[in-house]
């Protein structure tokens, strides 16, 4: 399965027209210890660039921005009780949303792993 990356340090993997979205390990490391994740509800629509959640670390609040247009089909409920899992496994179990993609062509605007690695240096 191909993984795409955004400038805002999200990753996105696609299975049919359903995508899974999360934040990268690099982003999690930068944020520090995460203590709360505010998520959108199932059924909420969003457009690329919209704020689709907030991650609170001990230090500060940081927004999550939508890497593509879509609709939330599932929000990862385990983050409510275990927000710290986002520090431990952000590119695995601690995904944030499953979404229904509105326009798969938007994926082409995102980076591949090599491009993302170049971005974060």
């Amino acid at each position: 399965m191909t993984t795409y990356y955004s400038d805002d340090h999200e990753w996105i993997t696609v299975d049919g027209d359903i995508a899974t979205i999360g934040i990268t390990q690099h982003a999690a490391d930068q944020l520090g210890e995460i203590v709360f994740v505010e998520q959108k509800d199932v059924g909420d629509d969003f457009e690329k660039g919209d704020e689709i959640g907030v991650i609170e670390s001990v230090k500060a609040a940081s927004e999550i921005y939508a890497p593509v247009d879509g609709e939330v089909v599932e929000a990862n409920g385990t983050l409510e009780d275990a927000p710290g899992s986002l520090n431990e496994n952000p590119e695995g179990d601690a995904w944030i949303y499953k979404v229904k993609l509105a326009d798969k062509a938007q994926l082409e605007d995102l980076m591949d792993l090599d491009g993302y690695k170049a971005l974060i240096g």
Binding site: G32, F36, E56
Partner: protein
């Protein structure tokens, strides 16, 4: 053009220890080390943390009648402050607002004063102007470190038996690894501990001696902030400022009875009026019921939807294991147990007014 951030004499040590350096009040300071804010916070509550607070201003006041003269600019009692004792106080302005908070120690032949990093440039001229005939000497050649936590007495006492003899808010001169230091049993974390003023050239040697103890780990500004917030201690610029009075900030305890009655300090009219009639608003603890932290600036509403105040400091309390906050609310609502709403990102989140501190203070009195 802004000046380049200044570095304390312990800068290289912070970098060596993996400190993540940030600009703080014009100083390049460690916000955290690899242990992380939560770990450093827990370390300080359970064992001991070492903080570099050398960015704070250290000042010597020397001259005839220095205690009386200090009473003309601060509402605490200094003429009755025994030698070797320290006192938390603040400078007030003519409107009864707080210009800065500080610690004054009677060091015998002088008063030793520690002021906030961001305000040393205000406080030094303020003292020079108002303390007529008193020498105001800012000290640039001494570092200041804090060792805080239940094991602080062992960490410091192992190297300096005299430190064990001090009680809370007592101060002395003593040798640590052959270096004469001013050791004061106080701090700003709610835990037992010391602040230690060290000649700059020997600061790293002394800091390393503390860190050689397995129970002592370096701690950054991030943990310092979460610790002081849980301890219900005001941060200048957040919880207190030029507009807030000591009565509003629940700092009456820092104004001794004689000073409250006699006045004779800037803003005494407002402060005495608020002492007798009560202030319009009051600083309180606020405990969000959910998991979302309420940060500075968040609006506080009463349950019928009217705005009653705002958060001045807020975040996650690692020892509490939940969000904690402080803020001002109108006095009618400043009652522990009162239910309020916090408007976080446009949504009302339930919270409760609580007594401060969130974590019991652990001073050796």
């Amino acid at each position: 053009m802004a000046d380049a951030p200044k570095r304390t004499v312990l800068y290289d040590l912070h970098v060596e220890l993996g400190g993540k350096m940030v600009d703080f009040a014009g100083w390049e300071m460690p916000v955290q080390y690899p242990m992380g804010i939560m770990g450093e916070h827990a370390q300080c509550r359970e064992k001991a943390g070492l903080f570099d607070v050398s960015h704070m201003g250290q000042v010597i006041l020397r001259g005839e009648g220095v205690a009386e003269k200090l009473e003309s600019i601060a509402p605490s009692a200094f003429t009755t402050l025994p030698e070797g004792k320290a006192r938390y106080t603040f400078f007030t302005n003519e409107d009864g607002g707080i210009m800065d908070d500080l610690i004054v120690t009677n060091a015998g032949d002088h008063m030793f004063v520690v002021v906030n990093a961001a305000l040393r440039h205000q406080d030094i001229p303020h003292m020079a102007k108002h303390l007529d005939g008193i020498e105001v000497i800012e000290i640039f050649d001494r570092a200041l470190v804090a060792v805080q936590g239940p094991k602080a007495e062992d960490v410091v006492g192992e190297l300096c038996p005299a430190a064990r003899e001090l009680k809370f808010m007592e101060s002395t001169l003593a040798d640590i690894v052959g270096v004469e230091c001013r050791i004061s049993r106080l701090g700003y974390t709610g835990e037992d501990g010391y602040e230690i003023s060290i000649p700059e050239g020997d600061a790293e040697k002394v800091a390393r001696a503390f860190l050689a103890d397995d129970d002592c780990a370096p701690s950054g500004l991030g943990a310092r902030d979460s610790l002081r917030l849980e301890a219900g201690l005001c941060l200048y610029g957040n919880d207190i400022d030029n507009s807030t009075s000591p009565v509003e900030a629940s700092l009456n305890w820092a104004m001794q009875k004689r000073r409250r009655e006699e006045g004779g300090f800037p803003g005494a009219a407002r402060i005495q009026r608020e002492l007798s009639e009560g202030a319009e608003k009051k600083l309180v603890g606020i405990k969000p019921e959910g998991r979302a932290p309420a940060r500075q600036g968040v609006e506080v509403q009463c349950v019928d939807g009217n705005t009653i105040g705002a958060i001045t400091s807020g975040g996650f309390g690692p020892t509490v294991g939940a969000p904690v906050a402080m803020g001002y609310v109108s006095t009618a609502h400043a009652v522990p147990g009162e239910k309020v709403n916090l408007i976080i990102r446009g949504k009302a989140q339930p919270a409760e007014i609580v007594s401060l501190p969130f974590v019991k203070q652990n001073y050796k009195r």
